[in-house]
């Protein structure tokens, strides 16, 4: 068996959601067999943070959770300016893994001061976050990160595999999918049948309710959350939480241009609107009815 890889988990401006999401990992004993969590801020482990910081120990993964800032008035840990801690640890880590949208792009908390609060390499979609350049960073966005996205990336690196990344440095195996893929409302999307109101199993949430599934990169509806569900399966629109612009404004409304919604990712306006027009011109009776009709 190959040796264990070591992890130090560091938090910037965060809600702890990525830590708690990570703790939902189904096969934790298997994770623990391959990795040593040298330090995690929430749980009782063996190492003392200050001794780790003051040592010259190198380690495999620095996992960053939360938005970052060079401004010590905005963030400090252990009575030290945060940048001192981050710079010291980053120099000793083989890989830096940004767990969640805050560490990747700045996320929700960036909105307070986008000049000073950013992700590690990005501020929103712009390159140039906490660092201008760094070649050992992987972004695993999401608000929160899915435990499988995080652990499976770590395991692949542990196996010495090359992890293919997209333009935002996100693992392609996760982020080449769209949240739309595997959505149970797909047929309603194909035939342009809108969900009349929330709280029902029928209809697509893309047209009126702000769903960003067709333009959000993530395999949520392939691997599901908590091994069972997803936002769209619980009848709520995808909020686009894996994207650099999360959170957009008016998350429960579909942004329209001349009463037309935005087109799905990578589909031209001409292709989408032509097809949508045709699909909409048919009235598919089955899709207008309840999925389960007790009176049938």
């Amino acid at each position: 068996m190959s040796h264990k890889y070591s992890i130090i988990w560091l938090q910037g401006l965060t809600c702890n959601g990525n830590s708690h999401s990570f703790l939902n990992y189904t096969h934790m004993p298997s994770f623990a067999a391959s990795f040593d969590m040298l330090y995690h801020p929430l749980w009782c482990g063996a190492e003392d943070f200050m001794s780790l910081l003051n040592s010259d120990v190198t380690f495999d993964f620095l996992i960053l959770e939360g938005a970052l800032s060079h401004d010590e008035r905005l963030i400090q840990r252990f009575n030290l300016p945060f940048y001192e801690i981050l710079d010291t640890l980053a120099a000793r880590a083989k890989y830096i893994i940004c767990a969640g949208s805050c560490a990747s792009f700045g996320g929700v908390f960036r909105l307070r001061d986008p000049e000073k609060i950013t992700g590690a390499l990005f501020s929103g979609k712009e390159k140039g976050g906490y660092w201008l350049e760094k070649n050992n960073i992987i972004n695993i966005s999401g608000c929160p990160v899915h435990p499988r996205w995080l652990v499976e990336t770590l395991v692949a690196l542990h196996h010495g595999e090359k992890v293919l990344l997209d333009e935002f440095l996100r693992p392609k195996e996760v982020f080449s999918y769209l949240a739309h893929h595997g959505c149970l409302r797909n047929e309603y999307f194909e035939w342009k049948v809108d969900s009349k109101q929330l709280g029902e199993r029928e209809g697509c949430l893309f047209y009126e309710h702000g769903c960003l599934g067709p333009m959000s990169h993530a395999n949520c509806n392939k691997i599901l959350w908590n091994d069972i569900s997803s936002k769209t399966r619980a009848g709520s629109p995808c909020l686009g939480c894996t994207e650099f612009d999360f959170p957009r404004r008016a998350l429960y409304e579909t942004q329209k241009n001349m009463s037309l919604p935005q087109t799905p990712f990578g589909i031209s306006k001409r292709a989408y609107y032509s097809l949508a027009g045709v699909a909409k011109s048919f009235k598919i009776e089955r899709l207008e009815k309840k999925l389960i009709d007790e009176n049938d």
Partner: protein, 447 residues
């Protein structure tokens, strides 16, 4: 005068505890929270419903609680604008199941990942911790996961699920979903019976004496023995004053208690103070945590408060013996968890799936102006969301979290609940544990 400053680690977030010492005893304590994030500011001028997506991001461990408090505040806005929304019993039940899943998981996580290892650390400062190592840690992690999976049948995901909307909930579960959720809940109950309580849930819930709990071998009775060994059956007492503003199936309305006397409470007497914060004075302030008071008094909120106002027989017996010591506070979370497991089983069994999940408001949200307050009992206590909306846009949003109630800062003449519990202690190790007995959530505090 001697003064020490120590970091409080292994809580939700981080805090600094500054202690003043006289004659080897703590004479005063300052509890400092940094790393403010500004969600209340971020929400200003955004469309009202964005609060449903953004307020869960206040806290990774109680995101459902924030979502529910937020939707209640929004529904009150409709009411203040003349449209009282009807929320079906089904939607209310689903909200309660989601909240219970969050509370159950929180209490298990806190007891097995914080309290047990911290107690070991009090006895042996070189203790290397249990995380990712001990068999029981993995079993507790699995129970935590099952509890959240149970909830995710209704909420889509945890943390940061979206499942509430003005007028009800967005999910519309099937009978098969309920059966699957019940299966998850049964796995959590099995864990708690075997490890937490050491006996069937029903038997534990029938107890009315602390001795019954203490005489059965379990993680809970082990923890109680350890706490007694270190003196936490006497230490950590505060004002013996409790408050539960949110509703519960175990009591009617909002209540407060002074020792065992229970009286009605009203949210209009809640007062938020900026004293000692950077918001009040950039230079003299020392924390980002606001403080909350009821009729100018600091009160304890959380599981112990809820059980005291509901006159729970077992908790009253613990209280009779140990008053509001750290031990009583810890046991309250275990006892509440048992009640919630039982209650959630009943809810899932009885939910009426024929009712609509959501009845949408008639009024166009873009023209909605008004104000509303949403109050719920979150894992750590009363959580208040207060919003003012003008033409569909948020004018102001104010959040009072449970940790603000318990761990705000008063002054020497009028210390806060946690400060009072710390005064008189003779070691930092004990102070550290007592602070943790409140289940500190620094991220909620610095929202």
């Amino acid at each position: 005068m001697k003064m020490t400053k120590e970091i409080i680690e292994r809580i939700e977030g981080e805090a600094t505890l500054e202690l003043e010492w006289e004659n080897e005893q703590v004479s005063f304590a300052k509890i400092k929270f940094f790393n403010y994030r500004g969600i209340e500011e971020i929400l200003k001028k955004r469309p009202l419903l964005d609060a449903l997506a953004l307020t869960p991001r206040v806290c990774g461990i109680c995101s459902h609680s924030h979502a529910i408090a937020s939707v209640l505040a929004i529904e009150e806005c409709y009411k203040s604008a003349g449209e009282a929304l009807h929320i079906t019993q089904k939607a209310k039940d689903i909200r309660e199941i989601a909240l219970n899943a969050e509370k159950i998981h929180n209490h298990i996580k806190w007891y097995f990942f914080t309290i047990l290892p911290e107690l070991k650390r009090v006895g042996d400062t070189t203790y290397a911790g249990n995380a990712f190592k001990d068999k029981q840690w993995f079993q507790a992690q699995s129970a935590v996961m099952q509890s959240l999976k149970m909830g995710a049948h209704f909420t889509g995901q945890w943390p940061h699920g979206s499942f509430v909307m003005a007028g009800g909930v967005t999910c519309d579960p099937l009978k098969s979903d309920l059966i699957s959720a019940q299966g998850c809940l049964d796995a959590v109950i099995a864990f708690c019976e075997e490890h937490f309580y050491g006996m069937p849930l029903e038997e534990f819930l029938s107890f009315d004496s602390a001795l019954q709990v203490m005489s059965s071998p379990s993680a809970l009775s082990y923890g109680i023995d350890e706490m007694i060994k270190h003196g936490f059956d006497r230490l950590g007492r505060s004002f013996d004053r409790f408050l539960a503003l949110g509703e519960s199936y175990r009591y009617e309305g909002s209540l407060k208690a002074s020792k065992t006397t229970v009286l009605g409470a009203d949210i209009k007497y809640v007062h938020e103070s900026l004293q000692h914060t950077f918001f009040e004075d950039k230079h003299k302030g020392y924390t980002y945590s606001k403080s909350a008071m009821y009729k100018r008094n600091y009160c304890e909120v959380g599981p112990l408060a809820r059980l005291m106002v509901s006159k729970d027989a077992l908790m009253r017996d613990f209280h009779r013996r140990f008053k509001d010591a750290a031990l009583t506070r810890v046991v309250a979370r275990a006892v509440e968890c048992a009640h919630l497991l039982w209650r959630t089983k009943v809810l899932i069994d009885h939910i009426n799936l024929k009712e609509p999940s959501l009845i949408p408001p008639k009024k166009d949200i873009h023209s909605l102006s008004g104000s509303g307050i949403g109050v719920i009992e979150a894992p750590r206590g009363s959580l208040i969301h207060s919003v003012v909306v003008h033409q569909g846009l948020i004018e102001s949003y104010d959040i009072i979290t449970p940790t603000v109630w318990n761990l705000g800062n008063g002054d020497k003449q009028n210390p806060s609940t946690a400060q009072k519990a710390l005064i008189g202690l003779n070691s930092f190790t004990k102070a550290d544990f007592i602070l943790k007995s409140f289940d500190v959530c620094s991220v909620c505090t610095t929202q």
